[in-house]
Subunit: 563 residues, 2 copies
């Protein structure tokens, strides 16, 4: 017979040991009393690296970044009440972005619910449809038969957050007082948990052959957006593109623009050249094959929308339906790498087609024009890509950051992890996600953010201590992207849409112990970045003159359209 505090610890410990045995190595803990057994179990486990963060919203995005960097589920722990509700934005990004998180919320037991007890809310199904699974534990007791259940639950959780669709799982853990064992902590028995194998998914032989016949010889386009396409995808998809003699339009988050793979089929300037009337008229594809999410480029989307009625094949192995244009003619439920290899094996290499060359010509022309009269942001993007060492991470914020990266990155042989939060594409949690990448050993890490995104998650900077992380904030005085929208003509535009913050981020840098440099000329940026990349956490604020920037972006498009 053990006491309640020991039972709590044994249960929490058995769950945490089980998760660790399934390969989980990081836990992000927010302080609280009720969650003590869970936190204690993580802190005591020799294989668990623990991170402590006070703001649960930032904690959850930090865990998201860690999970992206380590490609494994990350544990989140917090106390009862509104605390886990602060996880919600990151839970939604993890849901939409298919990132595994294991949400362990402490709770009051049944006898303290719905009766006005302090910090007690209804945590059952707190995240609704935005988690892969919800489990409610019973309160801990001393029955030994519960331990195999907890071990098995740990295995089930890690499976549910990884397959068939990665994402968050939520376990609500009611805990009775007392929460701290009086004597030494009980031993937790380590037992191997069940292992769930994930299948390889390939097209069946008939479909594969028919598809190869459909594509071969035609003028096709391969389009790649963000997504976890699997190891070996850059080689597999570029090999396929060559065999099909087709251009490969690669979003900055596709993982294809940078790396040691053969990149001659890869196009990065399509957002500009697809605006050209001659391209729209003359370069009409016979088919489109897409991998991952729809790319960020609006002109690519408009180009695709203009070509309906052709075979439009969408690869998604996990059951999503990534087809916002409602053009898909077939959904291919196979692992992208296997799919590329299957098709490549069926297809004879095409020769002598002028189709890919026409696109390459457009790419070269646009690249040349991009260098003339470039906005400050383009030069910042270029310097970041030039100076980042091999193996670094580049986190891109949404709004203008990802669009500037899209327009101006080009491609290269360096191995870079370009990562964004494009599941829900929010401006929230960007600082913490980026720091999670750095904590997950994608280092050095540079985050390219707008001023609103930086402000929205400024609390996340508390986690920057001891990490190598450089925040490059493109401060264009508010939501600069709105300048490109019809809202910019409204009477209250500045106050209600642009929302300039009027904050001097130098104070934030000082408060959180970040190195700080402020730059307003492109020529000053490389030195600032070089110095920041020498180690530690830094903020480089780049002052962007919004009107000039808008004009230069538009000039580039005009120049491409008229060239």
């Amino acid at each position: 017979m053990t006491d309640q505090a020991s039972n709590n610890f044994i249960w929490a410990g058995t769950l945490i040991h089980g998760l660790a045995a399934c390969g989980v190595t990081h836990a992000v803990i927010s302080p609280g009393s009720r969650s003590t057994p869970l936190a204690l179990a993580c802190l005591q486990h020799p294989g668990m690296k623990t991170w402590v963060q006070v703001d649960e919203r930032s904690a959850a995005f930090f865990a998201l970044g860690l999970a992206k960097a380590c490609r494994q589920p990350v544990i989140l722990i917090c106390t009862s009440g509104s605390a886990p509700a602060n996880w919600y934005p990151a839970v939604i990004e993890a849901d939409m972005g298919a990132i595994p998180l294991i949400l362990l919320s402490a709770d009051r037991p049944a006898e303290l619910r719905n009766c006005g007890a302090n910090q007690s809310i209804d945590q059952n199904q707190l995240f609704g449809k935005h988690v892969r699974a919800f489990h409610e534990l019973p309160p801990a007791d001393s029955r030994p038969e519960m331990l195999p259940y907890l071990r098995s639950l740990a295995a089930q959780l890690t499976n549910q957050c990884r397959w068939p669709m990665p994402g968050p799982v939520h376990i609500n853990v009611p805990l009775r007082e007392p929460l701290v064992p009086g004597g030494p902590l009980p031993q937790i028995a380590d037992m191997p948990p069940a292992v769930a194998s994930h299948p390889a998914q390939s097209l069946n032989a008939e479909d594969s052959a028919a598809l190869a016949r459909e594509l071969a010889g035609g003028k096709g386009l391969i389009v790649c957006g963000w997504g976890d396409h699997g190891e070996g995808f850059p080689e597999a998809v570029t090999t396929l593109a060559h065999k099909l003699a087709c251009p490969l339009l690669a979003d900055p988050l596709s993982g294809l623009r940078f790396g040691s793979h053969e990149r001659s089929a890869i196009l990065c300037r399509y957002d500009a050249f697809l605006r050209r009337a001659s391209v729209q008229e003359n370069l009409r594809p016979d088919w489109v094959l897409r991998f991952g999410a729809m790319p960020v480029s609006k002109s690519l989307q408009q180009f695709l929308a203009a070509h309906s009625g052709i075979p439009h094949l969408v690869s998604d192995a996990q059951g999503r339906w990534p087809d916002p244009l409602h053009q898909a003619t077939r959904l291919l439920r196979a692992d992208p790498v296997l799919l590329c290899r299957q098709l490549a094996a069926e297809i004879e290499s095409a020769t002598g087609s002028s189709w890919p060359e026409a696109f390459q010509d457009e790419e070269q022309r646009a690249a040349g024009l991009a260098r003339q009269n470039a906005p400050l942001e383009a030069e910042v993007v270029q310097a970041v890509l030039d100076l980042l060492p091999d193996g670094s991470a580049l986190f891109s914020g949404n709004s203008m950051a990802i669009r500037d990266l899209d327009a101006y990155s080009g491609s290269g042989s360096k191995s870079l992890h370009i990562i964004g939060n494009r599941g829900a594409s929010g401006i929230d949690g960007n600082v913490s996600t980026a720091l999670g990448l750095a904590a997950g050993s994608l280092r050095p890490m540079v985050a390219l953010l707008g001023d609103l995104a930086f402000y929205h998650d400024m609390n996340g900077l508390l986690a920057a201590r001891g990490l190598d992380a450089v925040f490059v904030v493109l401060n264009n005085g508010g939501g600069g992207i709105f300048e490109y929208l019809p809202q910019s003509q409204l009477e209250d535009f500045e106050r209600a849409w642009l929302t300039p913050l009027g904050l001097d981020f130098a104070h934030a840098a000082k408060m959180y112990g970040l190195g700080y440099q402020k730059i307003s000329r492109a020529t000053d940026f490389p030195a600032a970045l070089s110095s920041a990349l020498s180690g530690g956490a830094h903020l480089i604020e780049v002052t962007v003159e919004r009107e000039i920037s808008v004009a230069r972006h538009r000039n580039y498009w005009m120049a491409v359209m008229e060239s």
Copy 2:
């Protein structure tokens, strides 16, 4: 036939005009594109005061504070995606704290859902069981019969968020592009919406008479926690206490400690004197009558728990079950003011009882001991109460702030609005809630917060510009309340429970344009507060030596217990 952008505006405008006609006068808007028609409708309405905030989490707590100050529903507007998920912590506090909020989330229409469209998540029932109602609008069209529906919906919404249990309501608003009308904005027809009357609830005559007989002559205790007890409650409940010759134990958030009502029955020092063995043995009540939530005092809860088996009457007009000790013998479903008046009318005044005097003696003794060897926080509380002018608001954070207020406030004739977020009792959103009070014209406003609560919602300070608001941060180097719990003995206590921030808040004050003073001696505080109260937004950081503070709190309890 009107165009889509005009239809969007007409629909949004009809809804907003309807809400305004139902008495809503404040809208808190976060910037976004999809939400443009809703924002525009609020900005254009002459009776709607609009507030713009970038961080939706802070925006929602600011709206919560506004709703508390104005005692009316407040509109929240944001764009689609993870944006509304940032509202969740405040939605939960509004749910548990019974504060009306009208959540208008913009959304993509059905054809852009579940197909990988950008910033499109499943917003249906986003807040689960934590809202009073969820409505999904159809996309706007030109059918004139929809306008009476929208007007009626506005009336229904304001009713649902006010009665029978105040709280948040969520309306998800899908909007099709284009979102900005090209020409002048269409006129919105103003029509009076339906009015929903809310009933007066009183005990039926038999129950009232029986209850009066049960209470009269016995040694009773009235206990009041936080809650919206209705106008006239202080007079009604103190009159009843006098008729019953019974002490009235009043939580700092009960609204009873300060005001012009007759306060001789009111006790504020029970958290200390109920720890005395002689009190526990000799002052045994025959019955307990409670209003509102269970007070924050742990020793009061333990005292009540020790007296089971006596009539324990709980007043709650709205259907909650505020009985965490599971002792209630009867739930009284009547408006607190009517209930007090009914009972007082039935009861002859008691005379010559020594029962209330015994409690008053304890109160006086504890008050005397509280002044000796007081912790710094006690002197801060005293100075705040002394210096705040009549009609001011005092916002109290959770954790130690509310406990110090409970222990050391005493009572007085000044009219003060002492307000906290005790629905879920989180450390989140405190800065914004406090600023919402100030924006809702409870001015001047002083917020008494711990360092973790201040940090958690530092983003909220962006709204401080132009408001008279003083933040008094009791900086005890982390979660000082944990020092009183067994967690303080754990090996990783400092890192995982106490979590000292190590931040210099002077930088935050500079960044957000707040006046800043740092105080470490009680004698310096009154002058600092006086100067801050002269106008504008200020931060007074009070350095609390945690060990000394803990020792002095404990000394006070020991002195009371041994006196």
